[in-house]
């Protein structure tokens, strides 16, 4: 019984100003990927400089033009590139690109809703993101170059337009872009939370939701409480820069000249920034943890181990993430007692993290694992989550952190635990839900090759960085070969840069696979992975409103894989039982 009728929408409203969550999801994905590729190319360029300092490269010359006289990157432009790389990767690829894509695609489909609570706000969320991306890219081309104070934009470098070339217009545009970005993110999060809480289909209780949806819920909640604080910090910075206040500034000389600021404190900025900054790493990570939970369970044909423990640990992580920001500030002259408190709260996060790792491994254990590229990337995430988490224990301990703060140890740590984990989760999600996004299948073989190149080179790039850091090499240095102290480390930099070049080329495989499959790939079947969750009950061709008839009712949790009865036979005859299947006779209704 459906009064749902298709109206011919013109191109503009179907593809551009769409309010349909599935289209918006694709918009986020493609914009995010474009930004991600730009961020990756930047990293390859500055890796060339770090591996072979001062050498001239044809490609650097071509891509950077006046930023690189004779093909050698200018020092201040190095800083601009690092800043933009970090900003783009963290916010544009892994916040908007990741959450925007998968929350939009999966929340309505997996909870059984026709669309988001407000399609209009959802559309706004994408367009704010788009505008902020464009402004961020434009800032690369302005006089003085893009913002150069690091993705953390600490004052006074960011607060005084005359401080360095990158503190000028580039910094202003960075702030404007981020303010718009924050609004986009808030609009998105608002919608995600309200949709999850209010628009679930019949039978879809909270504890029958896939872990993906739980992860998106926590991600959105963290965003709602922490992004406004970044906005408050950015507004103060804008006032300091342009309107003569001194929130972050006090008694400053520049070029021998005294500036008229008084009473502010740059440390204040660090508090406000990291109150977002740390939760932000979980905003980046949690969606990937949810995506991989779902994939690992489906592809190992086993119920997820510890469903409630998974939810509980995500809740714990989400909560703890808001009370650990001080671990980024151990060297600011913080009271050692306060440092100890932040060390304690930080190390507490190890507990829920370990629970998650344990549950991933036990789910995989003795599973009938189907190694799709999505499975491989999910297992890759488990690996990086462990290896990056272990160095987190070192950095979280104030006594140890002081020794490696602001060195390449930190760069190695956060790339592995946040960058790689989140990117692997995102790749896994794209491979797994590609049939749902584009109605076609990606090529598994190319996908697997892509995985192996990516994981080997990822460790090749980021693992050796720990040794550089332990040897004392500072981060954000244009060159680290000019100091006698670091002379014998040059080879390590060559190795890292070589891996970085290979990994960049490896991503072309993905790009090819993605584009080719989207246009020419084999048509996807209804339920390619024999999955239980609701999204696979919708037609392969996207329709407005998702289900042609009534929204299906849900009768069970999403992880009834390989469920056997007393005689050892699969319940229902298959190794999976979709959520829409009512309980069989004699089937026990278990609590999970």
């Amino acid at each position: 019984m459906s009064t749902h009728h298709h109206h011919e929408q013109d191109f503009l409203f179907k593809y551009i100003f769409s309010t349909d969550h599935k289209m918006i999801s694709k918009q986020f994905l493609i914009t995010g990927f474009i930004m991600g590729f730009i961020g990756m190319i930047m990293s390859t360029l500055f890796r060339l400089q770090l591996g072979w300092p001062g050498e001239s490269f044809w490609i650097v010359d071509k891509l950077l033009g006046s930023w690189a006289e004779n093909g050698v990157m200018a020092p201040d432009k190095y800083l601009a590139l690092v800043t933009m790389h970090g900003t783009i990767m963290v916010f544009f690829l892994l916040t908007a690109g990741l959450s925007g894509t998968f929350s939009n695609l999966l929340i309505p489909l997996q909870i059984g809703a026709r669309d988001m609570a407000s399609g209009f706000l959802n559309m706004l969320s994408y367009w704010f993101f788009f505008v902020s991306s464009v402004i961020m890219l434009i800032s690369l081309g302005v006089e003085g170059g893009a913002a150069s104070a690091g993705w953390t934009i600490y004052p006074p470098l960011s607060a005084l337009p005359q401080a360095i070339p990158g503190s000028g217009l580039g910094m202003t545009l960075w702030l404007i872009s981020m303010a718009i970005f924050i609004i986009s993110s808030l609009l998105g999060s608002l919608n995600y939370v309200v949709t999850i809480l209010n628009l679930r289909t019949k039978g879809m209780t909270m504890t029958r939701m896939p872990l993906t949806v739980w992860a998106f819920l926590f991600t959105a909640l963290i965003g709602i409480v922490s992004f406004p604080v970044l906005l408050s910090a950015a507004i103060l910075l804008i006032f300091d820069r342009s309107f003569g206040t001194s929130f972050y500034l006090s008694d400053i000389f520049i070029g021998g000249q005294v500036l008229e600021y008084s009473g502010g404190s740059p440390i204040l900025f660090e508090h406000l920034f990291w109150f977002l900054g740390h939760p932000e790493v979980y905003i980046v990570l949690l969606p990937s943890l949810g995506i991989t939970s779902e994939i690992i369970s489906t592809m190992s044909r086993k119920p997820i181990f510890g469903y409630r423990a998974m939810i509980g640990s995500m809740l714990a992580i989400a909560f703890l993430s808001t009370i650990v920001w001080g671990h980024h500030m151990f060297v600011t002259g913080m009271n050692p007692f306060l440092g100890a408190v932040f060390t304690f709260t930080t190390l507490l996060i190890a507990i829920p993290s370990a629970v998650k790792v344990f549950n991933y491994l036990t789910t995989l254990w003795k599973g009938n694992i189907k190694f799709s590229p999505a499975t491989l990337f999910s297992i890759g995430l488990v690996s990086t989550f462990i290896s990056g988490g272990l160095t987190g224990l070192i950095l979280g301990d104030s006594a140890l952190d002081i020794n490696v703060h602001d060195t390449y140890f930190v760069v190695g740590h956060f790339h592995i635990v946040m960058g790689l984990s989140a990117v692997f989760g995102m790749f896994a999600g794209v491979y797994h839900w590609f049939p749902k996004l584009f109605g076609r299948m990606m090529d598994n073989k190319i996908g697997s090759i892509h995985f192996w190149i990516t994981i080997v080179c990822s460790y090749g790039v980021f693992f050796p960085m720990h040794f550089l850091g332990l040897a004392g090499v500072p981060r954000r240095y244009y060159t680290n070969s000019e100091f006698p102290l670091f002379e014998n480390l040059i080879d390590i930099n060559v190795v890292i840069s070589t891996f970085a070049i290979v990994i960049a080329f490896g991503q072309l495989l993905f790009l090819y696979n993605f584009l080719y499959s989207a246009l020419r790939g084999p048509k996807a079947p209804q339920n390619p992975w024999d999955s239980n969750s609701l999204e696979w009950t919708t037609p392969v061709e996207h329709i407005h409103g998702n289900w042609p008839g009534e929204i299906p009712e849900v009768h069970r949790w999403p992880y009834d894989y390989s469920k056997v009865d007393e005689s050892g036979e699969f319940v229902g005859g298959n190794d999976f039982i979709p959520q829409t299947t009512p309980l069989f006779q004699n089937e026990k209704n278990e609590k999970h």
């Binding site: 026709r114 999060s189 406004p228 206040t245 440390i267 204040l268």
Partner: protein, 198 residues
Amino acid sequence: MTSVSINNQFDTAEDIKKKTAKPLLWIAIVSIVMLFGGWTSAVIVSKGSSPRWFSFDLPFAFTISTLIIVASSLIFHYGLFSIRKGNSNVLKLASIITLVLGVMFIVSQYYGWKDLYSNGIFATGSKSTSASSFIYLVTVFHVLHLLAGIISVLVVAIKSLKEKYNQENTLGVELSIIYWHFLGGLWIYLFLFLKYVA
């Protein structure tokens, strides 16, 4: 463009709106709370770390503002009571009075700023410090949020004059009232914070 479709739980786009409008507003309010929470914590951090922090008396106008905004909240709420009982005339009057009081609040704030200024407490420039800038910052941003509130009350006033509300249909009024009460609460918080903490 939202589809009108039969669903096993909520029938139309209208139902979905009824179900989700208030939660959307509440969550938006949470994020505004965090914005001001960021600033007021910033005041505490700055106060603790700056040797040049100083305190000053709040202008009397801010006390008047507090009374105005409390009064407006009560009157607006009385309007909601009445429309729930089916009396739209009281709502018309109440929303118009709220509107006037909202504007008066802004005027009163303006006198407060003038008072601060004439006492040498500046928002920006070489004679300002972070202590003096913060008070302008939070009060000005409160007024910016209040402007959105005034627009929403204006919409309620116009719609009630056009008899768009009745006993069954009060969602718009309720949304506007929730936000208006929130603005009142936010102001009281800021007022007490500036008076006793900053």
